[in-house]
Amino acid sequence: MIAAQARHVGWVLRSNPITAVAAVAATLLCFIALIGPSIVSYDPIASDVASALQPPSAAHWAGTDQLGRDVLARIVYAARLDLAIAASAVFLSFIVGALIGSVCGYAGGRIDRFVGRLVDVLMAFPLFVLAMAMVVALGNRVENIVIATAIINLPFYIRFARAEVNVRRDAGWVEAARAGGEGHLAIVLRFLLPNVLPAMAVQISLNLGWAILNAAGLSFIGLGVKAPTPEWGIMVAEGARFISTGKWWLVAFPGLALMLTVLCFNLLGDGLRDILDPRMRT
């Protein structure tokens, strides 16, 4: 069984080398986020006005910003914060969404309809605007970016888990568990949830990219992360003031970091979906 699965994974990776590249890149990215700060030689906060706004050179590979800080160093430092925000937001909504969704799918009836309506209301919002409003409401802090991003991700997980559980609730093995005297809660937690999680895990990778874009967008408009902290969205926002005078590196390099990170997670998610469900491929 496991050997067959491994063969299948190997086959998918060979026939779709992009997924393999994406997996390697994602690992590398996490590695940089973890040890990055100890390999860069510049301070990401301390300003050095004498060497402000220098284009990329041998000393500063990605140039320097308006306060003379090394752009590359700031990008590397920011990787940890950006990945941490996105990962914790997605993890949070994954857990909560899976629980709510599977309870709804299993219970059906009034609870299901009520939550369904609630999800509809949530989806009727322009989600980015909702995230903005929530960060302002909860307080302009990084934790609240995580919470806002988690909440706007929630509807997808709830719907997904609900649909997956709903088709299984009357399956033979659930019936058997019920006949064997298992309580409802135990059936949901020990029987249904484990069957739904693998399919949902694919969504995590796809949503990670989206969460990063979302968090960066929020800090771009001035919410969440405060000024001297290195973060990709805020770096782009600071660089925006200098773009029409031709200082492209302030925007291009953090933008590149954002793009590559999101691309990497998206490709990985697509690949994982192919592994899990070859029919879904488009």
Partner: protein, 343 residues
């Protein structure tokens, strides 16, 4: 005739079922805005001479001294009469502010949608006709790339290339530069108003101004459209009716466009509706980058100044547009495929 009545019935049902969601949005925004930090009364009374009484007076003026449920009922009553409150920043009624600025946002969104569809449908069809060829992979890669670049980055890079480097694009701020005369306002859509006024130079100027922000947004939403077109085209190209059409010797063009594409357009329509609402949210970032005087940047400014009424009005507007778009998609659905029935 019965088809028309059928469509109308579908649309009506859709509208009724979306009312609770709209109401929910309304209550939700109301509560959300009330838990926002910062007392707007204090915010707007903050002058060197403002005393406790002044603050109390402003609070009474805004109805903030009443209990929350009463405030909610008053709010709903006001909305029923078309009164969305008054913006504290601009001093204007929110409704007239939104009416003033909505055309700018809609013009940008529609321009972007037209660009995106115009590029994505041919690309998707082409990719499906040559499935798994180099072109197919190139289209797929290009589109995947588009989703990954945040709009605020691609917008700024487009400004750098087209404005700073090559000097082709006009100054990327606002809908029209200050030296060009505005057309008389008929629809609020500059591109249409200039045509009505017969001012072709003005039209060209407005067109050049909208091109960069529209491209920025189009790049971001092309991927789902192209992917869906490709998948739907693949399915319909492999179907029996296409084989039959081919076998009786119809021209390639006719088979592809009339038979295959028409049947493939349904899922694309659905996705277009979703994409449209994504764009409404993404507007915030694009409007900020290009200083576009739309409703999203208006709401952002209000939000940062803890000015309740405009944000509530904006969210309500967005939700209504979202419902309306779904309705239009539904009607178009019925027109594209009369077999679709009410569930």
């Amino acid at each position: 005739m019965s088809g028309l009545g059928h469509t109308a019935k579908r649309a009506g049902q859709r509208l009724v079922t979306s009312l609770p969601a709209l109401f929910g949005v309304l209550v939700f925004t109301f509560v959300l805005m009330r838990v926002l930090p910062g007392d707007p009364a204090v915010f707007f009374a903050s002058g060197p001479n403002s005393s406790q009484e002044d603050i109390e007076m402003i609070r009474r003026q805004m109805g903030l001294d009443k209990p929350l449920p009463t405030q909610l009922v008053l709010y709903l009553y006001d909305i029923g009469r078309g009164n969305l409150g008054r913006s504290l920043i601009t001093g204007q009624p929110v409704l007239s502010d939104l009416r003033e600025r909505l055309p700018a946002s809609l013009e940008l969104t529609f321009a972007a949608l037209i660009l995106a569809l115009g590029a994505a449908i041919p690309l998707g069809v082409f990719a499906a006709l040559r499935a798994n060829s180099l072109i197919d992979h190139a289209v797929r890669f290009f589109c995947s790339l588009g989703v990954c670049v945040p709009t605020f980055v691609s917008g700024l890079l487009l400004i750098y290339a087209f404005y700073y480097l090559w000097g082709i694009a006009p100054d990327p701020t606002g809908r029209i530069d200050i030296f060009t005369s505005q057309p008389t306002r008929v629809t609020g859509f500059l591109l249409i108003d200039y045509l009505i006024a017969g001012d072709l130079d003005g039209w060209a100027a407005a067109f050049r101004q909208i091109l960069l922000p529209a491209i920025t947004m189009a790049l971001f939403v092309m991927a789902p459209l192209a992917r869906m077109t490709r998948a739907a085209m693949l399915a319909s190209l492999g179907s029996d009716f296409v084989r039959t059409a081919r076998s009786i010797g119809l021209s390639d063009w006719r088979v592809i466009v009339v038979y295959a594409l028409r049947n493939a357009i349904l899922p694309v329509l659905t996705i277009t509706g979703i994409v449209f609402s994504t764009m409404l949210g993404a507007n915030v970032l694009v409007e900020k980058v290009f200083s576009w005087p739309g409703v999203a940047s208006y709401a952002l400014d209000a939000l940062l100044a803890s000015d309740y009424a405009p944000v509530q009005g904006f969210v309500l507007l967005m939700a209504s547009i979202f419902v309306l778009v779904n309705l239009v998609v539904d009607v178009l659905y019925g027109m594209a495929d009369p077999r679709v029935t009410v569930e």
